[in-house]
Symmetry: C2
Subunit: 282 residues, 2 copies
């Protein structure tokens, strides 16, 4: 009888562990996602304003269009509910907006890429801002910053003002026992840091920002596009790919519809192009 109880408890424990550890990636909008990972709930790059709340980004393509271009499927309050930590890859408006700054509880842990962003977010009243390094731990989840991304082309970064404006954005990797390793590539073009992260972490889920946002009058994207998805499918053939950061800000030039057509034409079955509000489970 005692043994039976223990076994039942053990079985229940295992079930609970498994259930708690399912990787759930809910695509909110743009690069915003609510992620259950290793039993905790993370909010990534919260961009929570209502449709049209802001002017378009000056100096970018289609800058007369207001942002966000589309609505979320849930309210910001609903999205924020049950979030235990926030990860902000960089502080550009479409990853950390005024609405997020106003609505998020000020004592939530906010993980950031560096001292600069930490200072900015602390100045907005947040009390628990933490810089992500290598294997920075939160509730048994390891967060590792992927440094060396580049939020635009070499030609753009040759210009000091543009280098400063585009700035730095991190990618990051989430790891936990019994959980698939997830690499969130962030706002970067494909460069050596991406190859390095793929080789170091061997991620099984890779989230890519693929709207190919562009600056007015400059060649090349400041984030990835369709061609990078095809490359990723070749370089990391076993990984599940998630493509986001489309449709939601004025300066993207690849829509999720175009991405779906591209993925279909190329037969890339491992690529998800989630709709707003959709949850992917891995």
């Amino acid at each position: 009888m005692k043994l039976k109880t223990t076994l039942s408890a053990l079985t229940l424990g295992l079930l609970m562990t498994n259930s708690a550890h399912a990787l759930e990636y809910q695509h909110v909008r743009n690069a915003t996602a609510k992620v259950n990972f290793g039993g905790s709930t993370f909010l990534i790059d919260p961009y929570l304003a209502e449709k049209g709340a802001y002017e378009g980004f000056a100096g970018t393509v289609n800058s007369k269009q207001r942002n966000p271009v589309i609505e979320m499927k849930q309210s910001a309050d609903e999205i924020i509910k049950s979030v235990q930590a926030v990860i902000v890859t960089h502080t550009h408006d479409d990853h950390w907006d005024k609405a997020a700054q106003e609505k998020l509880p000020k004592d939530l842990p906010i993980f950031v890429q560096n001292a600069d962003d930490a200072k900015i977010i602390r100045s907005q009243g947040f009390k628990d801002v933490r810089v992500v390094g290598a294997n920075t731990e939160f509730n048994g989840v390891k967060l590792s910053r992927v440094k060396g991304g580049q939020h635009g082309t070499d030609a753009m970064y040759a210009m000091p003002q543009l280098a400063e404006l585009l700035g730095d954005a991190m990618g990051f990797v989430m790891q936990a026992n019994g959980e698939k390793t997830m690499y969130v590539v962030g706002d970067t073009v494909w460069n050596a840091s991406v190859d390095q992260a793929l080789s170091q972490y061997q991620p099984e889920v890779i989230v890519m920002n693929t709207g190919k946002a562009m600056l007015e009058g400059m060649d090349g994207g400041i984030i990835m596009g369709t061609e990078d998805v095809a490359k990723m499918a070749k370089v990391a053939p076993k990984a599940n790919l998630v493509t986001v950061h489309m449709d939601s800000v004025n300066h993207t030039t690849v829509s999720s519809q175009q991405m779906r057509e591209f993925v279909k034409a190329k037969g890339l079955k491992q690529v998800a192009v989630p709709k707003e509000g959709e949850t992917l489970k891995y």
Copy 2:
């Protein structure tokens, strides 16, 4: 007669060009260097105070020792003379000190790694602060930031406070027509970003910070040491190596004397361990 004059002028011109373009690296102290490159004079990581001006770095080894530990061979004023631009790899005190902030002309171009350091240095009164990107140009010299360095071990960067304190430091590469390519590695341990820079730029002169500075009670260096010099000699066998950032701050654990002995014992003829004030020509 006319031809002769022209040829003389041409010869003189070539001589002047060659002379103007000689790479001269003057080791001032610590990581501070005055560099003639591509016909312009750069000051790198100015740490210009007199011996003992500051307290030792809290939380590091030998923190009771005052910094700088040794004097420069010239006065700060003499060093600053004829400098046309300054490159600051990061704003830790031993690379950008109060003396440098006070003594350097406020209209000198200051090249920095990111918006954070640009903001800090602008707030100190400097009017022409420029973020280094890819092939950022100054007087025909291309400056490229090497991102992704790590100013300590993974264990240190796992801790958010330490990750923030150690922060980011850039390496950079200088390129110009007719000039050897120089890679200043900066305050980093050896990681993938170093391999990537070596492969991308194939530098012929490599400046390494090799004092193996250490934190109190933590294993591992926060910059390179002797073993990294041996590795570099193997990985970049044709390059001239310059080792600096020794003897001058409390927390270094490799002295230039130890480095000289190491280099001699290993037979590494391509490694220079310059004395303060010494000029190396390449």
